[in-house]
């Protein structure tokens, strides 16, 4: 198991090199000169050429890539062309914002989705099953930006129950330590701020949770239905076990592997930054960060951002693979 983990981590290296190459070339294939954008349309040719030189953009591509990789290995993601700040420092607050929102959304999606799926399978063809699966169908088909706008209109504008956007109250900003505001406010004992932070999380969290929740519910239901027909479930019932334990102990653990796969994939997608949702809710997340960088031809930021997302994606996949073995003893890694 330990050797397997190490090997899987080593296998991340070629994946990330491949990823960095693809990103590197794709960005350079996009027309538009970053030096020109920085200096504006009125800039003289000499000034643009000089800036290109100082940014290293006049070097051949392999030299640019080589410098980039060398810096990467020392943890240097380069400086943003736009802000001149080191990206490795700049990116964390954005990523933390996305991480907090994604985890919040995923917890909602898993708790509701898994339980809805279980109850639907347990009481197959009941009214609960029909309603839950109809909602799940609506959930997967719903355009998220529209749901986000409707949420804002209903809960923030009409009923004034929750804030429309942002992560915190501007009048009472969080003193960030980790940039994960829930943790920050708890460490500092600022429970008034914790409440504000949580209130800001609800609307974007629910919007982001909708699709994963629906997919998880449907996957849990079909997986549970299959497991509940199996012989060992009959054995469990023949022992005299309550249906609740038959379902939540004997069935769920067996049915969970496909559900876990879906959770992993969806978590990866959420952490990749949901640009639409982050834009609608003015959420300062990684999706917004990269989106803004694209508009500015900020090559280093785009490259690093995508690389971070790729790293997160493969890490989650690795975690899911390791969790398989924890759930099902028949799965052994060589």
């Amino acid at each position: 198991m330990f050797a397997y983990t190490i090997r899987r981590i080593l296998m991340l290296i070629p994946v990330l090199i491949g990823m960095s190459l693809i990103v590197f070339f794709l960005i350079r294939a996009i027309p538009g000169d970053p030096a020109q954008i920085i200096l504006g349309q009125q800039a003289s040719k000499e000034a643009v050429a000089e800036l290109r030189g100082s940014l290293g953009l006049d070097e051949p591509w392999y030299t640019q890539y080589f410098i980039y990789m060398k810096d990467l290995l020392t943890g240097d993601l380069g400086n943003s062309i736009r802000t001149h700040a080191p990206i490795s420092e700049e990116i964390w607050p954005y990523f933390a914002a996305t991480l907090e929102l994604s985890l919040f959304a995923m917890i909602i999606a898993v708790v509701i989705g898994v339980n809805a799926g279980i109850i639907s399978a347990w009481f197959q063809n009941s009214w609960f099953d029909y309603v839950a699966m109809l909602l799940a169908l609506i959930g997967v088909s719903m355009p998220i930006f529209w749901l986000g706008l409707m949420e804002q209109w209903a809960f923030a504008v009409e009923w004034r129950m929750l804030p429309t956007s942002g992560r915190e109250s501007i009048l009472n900003p969080v003193d960030s330590i980790t940039n994960l505001y829930i943790i920050d406010t708890i460490i500092q004992g600022r429970f008034d701020q914790l409440q504000t932070v949580l209130r800001h999380l609800i609307l974007p969290g629910v919007a982001l949770a909708t699709i994963p929740m629906a997919i998880i519910a449907r996957m849990t239901r079909s997986s549970m239905l299959e497991v509940m027909r199996s012989d060992y479930i009959r054995t469990a019932r023949a022992k005299g076990l309550r249906m609740f334990w038959v379902v939540y102990k004997h069935s769920l653990k067996n049915a969970f592997i496909p559900v876990l796969t879906v959770i992993g994939l969806q978590m990866g997608l959420l952490l990749g930054g949901a640009i639409l949702t982050e834009t609608i809710f003015s959420w300062p997340g990684i999706g917004r960060y990269i989106y803004d960088a694209i508009g500015f031809r900020d090559y280093p930021v785009i490259q690093s951002g995508i690389l971070v997302i790729a790293l997160v994606f493969v890490t989650i996949n690795l975690l899911v693979d390791l969790l398989y073995a924890a759930i099902d003893p028949r799965i052994k890694y060589q």
Partner: protein
Amino acid sequence: MDAPVLDVKGLKTYFFTDDGEVPAVDNVDFHVKRGEVLGIVGESGCGKSVTSLSVMGLVPSPPGKIVGGEILYKGEDLTKATDRRMRQIRGNDIAMIFQEPMTSLNPVYRIGNQLIEAIRLHNSWNKKKAWNRAVEIMKLVGLPRAEELMDSYPHQLSGGMRQRVMIAMAMVCEPEVLIADEPTTALDVTIQAQILDLMKRLNKETDTSIIMITHDLGVVAEMCERIVVMYAGKVIEEADVQTIFKKPKHPYTVGLIQSVPDMRQKKDRLYSIPGTVPKPGSITQGCPFAPRCEHAFDRCITDTPQLEEQEDGSRVRCWLHDS
């Protein structure tokens, strides 16, 4: 002998499907006395398994439902028992083992966990005491290295060992009745013999009544004292084991016994009963076996025979043996 532990009277279990109702078990009577081994024999699809699931209250519902009759366990009618009461009875008073040892244990929990769960469900014992009892019962069913096996997962065991675990799990709360649904069908012949020996020994040692459900007449001859033969959801013959093998009365029983290969005689072709078991409920008039019966006459097609008591104490549902 004393009153039966389990007395099934006129049991009817129907399945309500899109194609109409299917009487999988139709008016079945049988009883088991204390310490007795009863065999229920028949081809696939004759209602043996549904009968046993009905006794356990585990008929998949919907579509299945017990629509008539009584299942008397020590005088208490289980068809009227509450869910809660049935859960107390299952595993504790009436236990069951199944045909497929390979898939009947939960693959993601350790053997010990599954055994201890069964024990603690019906006894308010602490973990230590339950653990000790689990090890004890594993040794009783002849599992070597019982302590080690407690920490194993089902996939680490062979089919024979898993069936021993299943038997251990069924016997752990010392049930009055053990229903064994084809317990040896999925096993190698040598393992079959071991499992049958084990069940016989447990029957002698603990005085547990066993209902042996099988299509294998060899198993029946080996194990049972009395035999119920089922066909198309009905009991068609009931007698003690000697009578059945020496003087089978119903043509179906005769056919079943003839179709067992005999090593002493070399035949070119094994005997088989022509045709297949009719779909339950497809024959509403006359004897359900009549279309396959060599001795059928006019009355068999028009009138439905009843289970009649014979002079030697056996019961037969056949117009040939109408008194």
